[in-house]
Symmetry: D2
Amino acid sequence: MTNPTTLAVRSELTYDVGLTASFAFAVAAARTDSQHIVEETVTLTPALPFELVSFGEGGTHQLIRVEVEPGWFTLAYDAVVEVHPNPTDPTLLPETPFREVPADLLPYLNPSRYCESDKMYDLVGRLFGEIEPGYARVQAVSDWVTSELTYAAGSTDASSGTADVLLQRAGVCRDFAHVGISLCRALGVPARYVSGYGKGVEPQDFHGVFEAYMGGLWWIFDPTGMVAINDFVRIGYGRDAADASFATFVGQAMLTDKTVQVTRLDQ
Amino acid sequence: MTNPTTLAVRSELTYDVGLTASFAFAVAAARTDSQHIVEETVTLTPALPFELVSFGEGGTHQLIRVEVEPGWFTLAYDAVVEVHPNPTDPTLLPETPFREVPADLLPYLNPSRYCESDKMYDLVGRLFGEIEPGYARVQAVSDWVTSELTYAAGSTDASSGTADVLLQRAGVCRDFAHVGISLCRALGVPARYVSGYGKGVEPQDFHGVFEAYMGGLWWIFDPTGMVAINDFVRIGYGRDAADASFATFVGQAMLTDKTVQVTRLDQ
Amino acid sequence: MTNPTTLAVRSELTYDVGLTASFAFAVAAARTDSQHIVEETVTLTPALPFELVSFGEGGTHQLIRVEVEPGWFTLAYDAVVEVHPNPTDPTLLPETPFREVPADLLPYLNPSRYCESDKMYDLVGRLFGEIEPGYARVQAVSDWVTSELTYAAGSTDASSGTADVLLQRAGVCRDFAHVGISLCRALGVPARYVSGYGKGVEPQDFHGVFEAYMGGLWWIFDPTGMVAINDFVRIGYGRDAADASFATFVGQAMLTDKTVQVTRLDQ
Amino acid sequence: MTNPTTLAVRSELTYDVGLTASFAFAVAAARTDSQHIVEETVTLTPALPFELVSFGEGGTHQLIRVEVEPGWFTLAYDAVVEVHPNPTDPTLLPETPFREVPADLLPYLNPSRYCESDKMYDLVGRLFGEIEPGYARVQAVSDWVTSELTYAAGSTDASSGTADVLLQRAGVCRDFAHVGISLCRALGVPARYVSGYGKGVEPQDFHGVFEAYMGGLWWIFDPTGMVAINDFVRIGYGRDAADASFATFVGQAMLTDKTVQVTRLDQ
């Protein structure tokens, strides 16, 4: 896991804009310690001025903001990214006790729109109460999600939260991540949603995974089992998928085409 | 299981009535093939005229309807009931195929207020898909509820449905019954809620269980495990607990006292 | 409103059946006092034996039950129906006080899967508390639904209940009916869902309305405003749309085509 | 509104701690431009070491973190706070267009645990679509909440969100705030929850209001109408009440007593 991998990622989004629309796209790779952007191109058609805005802790994440006139509009994002997985082996890592969770991360213990962790204390006690706290327990959470949910495109929609997903036992990547996040929070482990480009997603689309905070770092888990950690390029993050849409806009616009590509360059 | 048992049951409900109230009480034992009412007394204080109204299939069930003026009001119901459990052993009974479910029982396959069975097809496939249809599968459903839920007074309220209960994995008897009903319906087994007097309920109160329809009969299951079949005196039934409140009224009244007693006479 | 109208109705449903499936279709016109079936044809392709089963109060309603082998399967239902609207003018009708609601109709005061009336007492107090109980108040309920909801195909799905619909203020006919039912029940008026053929539904499909019980009769209301009472042929009824699907089946089958036609013959 | 007011606030929380518990209390007044802390005392009984931790934007807010051994434990917080209301009159302020909302505030447009704004676009269109965007429109939102909800202690619980509250039209201060936040977000106005001490809350307790972001500042609204802006001392803030509990802890502890006092000193 110590060798970096190099991935070429590309997304192309086409909109039919009816009334002047103001967009914030979260499609650009984040600039973090573990991922180095070798090259990066944003192509707008028609050519329009845009802003690349940093946000998040340390300004590591990037939004593309652009105002678009009525008509057809395409945003293409291309990048080559070097992914450096965490150098240390986390498997024996303990969880971070509540008293050591930094104040600014405490909100990642709270329930959010799609993660009703406040109702799940008994459930996590039953499922994971016997497991020693630590990285292995969070791995058990992720494994439970993998084994208990069926990946089924179209089984959920934009309003489906953890309660819905657990009842029907089916969902897509965002639902898998939400269940993982909810279980972690109910166990007292800060957890958040991460969006990105994942090699191996079938059919290829943006991907969603979750991160749990242990030992002063955030650790990625993909309960869908579709993507290896070093095949994942992170874009954005948040409390849950509500914070990590690939596009948010005000105005009138309809997404008419979306393609996502992820290629491993070093193989 | 072939010997009848004899149970003395008593309930006493006291209300502070603010404005003239019209009540329908479902506290009287049903007059079915399997339960014979040896004696029965309804005592109203103050003494008021009341109606004992039959309802349900074959008029087997009884409602006490009464109009009450402002002031204190107590209804006491006492009965001695002989309970004859089903004479045949159901354990090898097959389930009833959809084509043989009588038209008037088809609604018991549908979701209801507290039983969102329409969202649980994947879940029952995962949990019970490998088990041969039949009485033993419904018993497995009931056993699953017994083992997966914690009985905890106060953990739910009047608005809690199966989705809530499964998320928090805790509830009271009505919640256990609702989960059982929902799982049965999702499996294609007609199921309904039954209220009654159960010996062994701790603390003693009215009890709620569920029935599943197989082989032309309804069979009782108590997933709380608190009450033996021949220690249960049925009162009412319905789609779920919404149909089987011990009291419904219009007007202004507050329940100030409730006691329920169940005693085995033949031991 | 005293002259009967004559309507020709037709529905055609085509399924791709994967594994032997057992169907119960609720597409046949009911045989009630207010609707007379002049002629009626059920055509199955391939030709298969079927049962026409009566159900409901007085056996007035009809289910078509049929077992289907794998392959393509089409059910066509054609009927000419004479609709006799209620002879009396209901507009001055009082509501039925709780004490006079027959025991077997009390369940229509209870919440159901898509009608969470148990949470809406304050809301109906605010909205309709100043209006004198009676037919006019239920008409006000229906009018409120008409004016407060937007009819929007695709805005809801099979799991949407009254709470969802009121939050988003949009839905289709079944949602309009559910909101009307919920408001009535919260006001103490027994209410139920009715499915049928309605002339004027755009695009033409099966239709859903609601009925409220007053003065010993059930009265129809269509809060979508799309269908006149004497242009509506009733099929089935129930607590809510969960009880009134045009088709229920067990097995593996996919609806591939559905057409519904309603024509006025007497004009 | 330009003269500062001076308020003495006090809260006292007593816990029966069963197992060593780690607490984070959000009861201390925030140190912002508009509120100056004249004096402040934290008293723990038994005396225990604690940390006063800054968090939030600019480190303006304060958490009290403390580890507590089994037994009785009381935290008392006393402060005298000078509140300087915003110097400018906001009433003619325009809303902030999406393109000018800072990237780090975009999450305040997203739905959260108790604020399902993603389902309320049609509703806000109906209710506020005719009103010119601006401070007056947000005031109209707050006024609508005031007039459409009934303040009723006990009508909601910790799991009640905006959908529940709008259905039942009753709630407490946190529910009023949640509805206001949800409506603002659906209108495209960033909104957040603020907890604090409010003079006039009856019965006196911690209070919850909401803030809307316009013209580069956050503006407070109290849809309960109980507290004037300059009689409110802010403690914490967040997406919704999930982020602003007065106490969060891990371990075993039961709140046995809570008193809150707010007194105006300059009158």
